[in-house]
Symmetry: C2
Subunit: 214 residues, 2 copies
């Protein structure tokens, strides 16, 4: 890793995909600047940000000659530039199981329950809360099945991995939509263990500079 | 890689996520059995398949003591067990850009335009074709921006990568929904180059054992 590292994470405190990246930055203790982008005021569509990231999304990692969007792409990059501590399990099968958990959250649950989509569901006359809760419940059922195979203290054994970085924000969203987590005991237990860790707490929405206190 | 490899890919000919895996199996020339699961008749929800994969989804890779769902998880595993030819670019930045393309397709476009979701949109009174076309257009605009930075003959330089495995099925879906591809010249050019390759053709829906001829 370059010694004069000067990375900036563009983030929004409540963005669950930004949160995933913050968790990995925190686990790896990678120094970086935090630049808040206020999604509610539409700052991601402003000229200043679009010049950096025409995809108009956070998270976005900028610096050292790179600009990367998409949470898992950024996380892959962080693992590449600072491999220790690794957030990848040590065997091909466990890595595959970890990606399975990540993808259930990343490409199944989250895209269908993010704010933009559920607002469109509501505009069509659907019930956005029910829609989100149903999607999250279906997805967490699948996550639980994989955790039955590989969970230890955390999602994959006793090592902090990318699956944990994906799980914590997703369970937070589940709670926001009043999803009943009792059918998912491993999801619940692992999340509780994760939330007790300082490196996970540092990345939490309420601990970001742009957090709005209730 | 084990010499007595005995993998089975559970797939459906028109499943775009199965197609991604078929492309990587083909590029790497990994021997495997093909087991068709008829999604239209609900075979993925049948007892025989659920016993293997309780997530009730294809693609699903089974064998050698593993059972893996989620297309990118399977692809990660294939890269792990048979690293050559690699479907990953050779530098951290290019790998990050590749994952950016993959994730735009995998976690942004595809989840919002798959058949289950657009049927739900239609049930709510929405126009499913317009919904899908809009999602695909927005997403391909983002893909095109990344390709402007890194494309060569294929998505990332002149090497076949996982981004290509994601792009080909997505462009096929774009055409199904009559998306105008003229604003995306690199997407179009790269796709044309890919479709000319025997290893890509082998993986095409119409060349699978369960293809239904028009």
């Amino acid at each position: 890793m370059s010694s004069n590292m000067d990375y900036t994470l563009f983030s929004y405190w409540r963005s669950s995909c930004s949160w995933r990246v913050r968790i990995v930055l925190s686990i790896k203790n990678i120094p970086h600047h935090y630049h808040a982008i206020n999604l509610l005021s539409g700052e991601q569509k402003g000229d200043e940000f679009i010049e950096k990231n025409p995809l108009k999304q956070v998270p976005y990692l900028h610096g050292e000659g790179v600009g990367i969007s998409q949470s898992l792409a950024i996380i892959h990059y962080l693992e590449d530039i600072q491999p220790t501590p690794s957030v990848l399990p040590s065997t091909p099968i466990l890595r595959a199981k970890m990606w399975e958990i990540c993808e259930i959250i990343n490409s199944w649950i989250q895209p269908l329950q993010n704010l933009t989509i559920i607002n469109r569901i509501e505009a069509l006359g659907g019930n956005k809360t029910e829609w989100a809760a149903e999607v999250i419940t279906d997805g967490l059922r699948a996550v639980e099945r994989v955790l039955e195979q590989v969970a230890g203290t955390y999602c994959v054994g006793d090592q902090l991995t990318i699956a944990d970085a994906c799980l914590v924000p997703q369970v937070y969203n589940a709670r926001r939509f009043n999803v009943d987590l009792t059918p998912f005991p491993i999801v619940s237990r692992v999340t509780e263990a994760l939330l007790a860790l300082p490196e996970i707490q540092r990345a939490a929405p309420e601990n970001q500079p742009d957090a709005v206190k209730a």
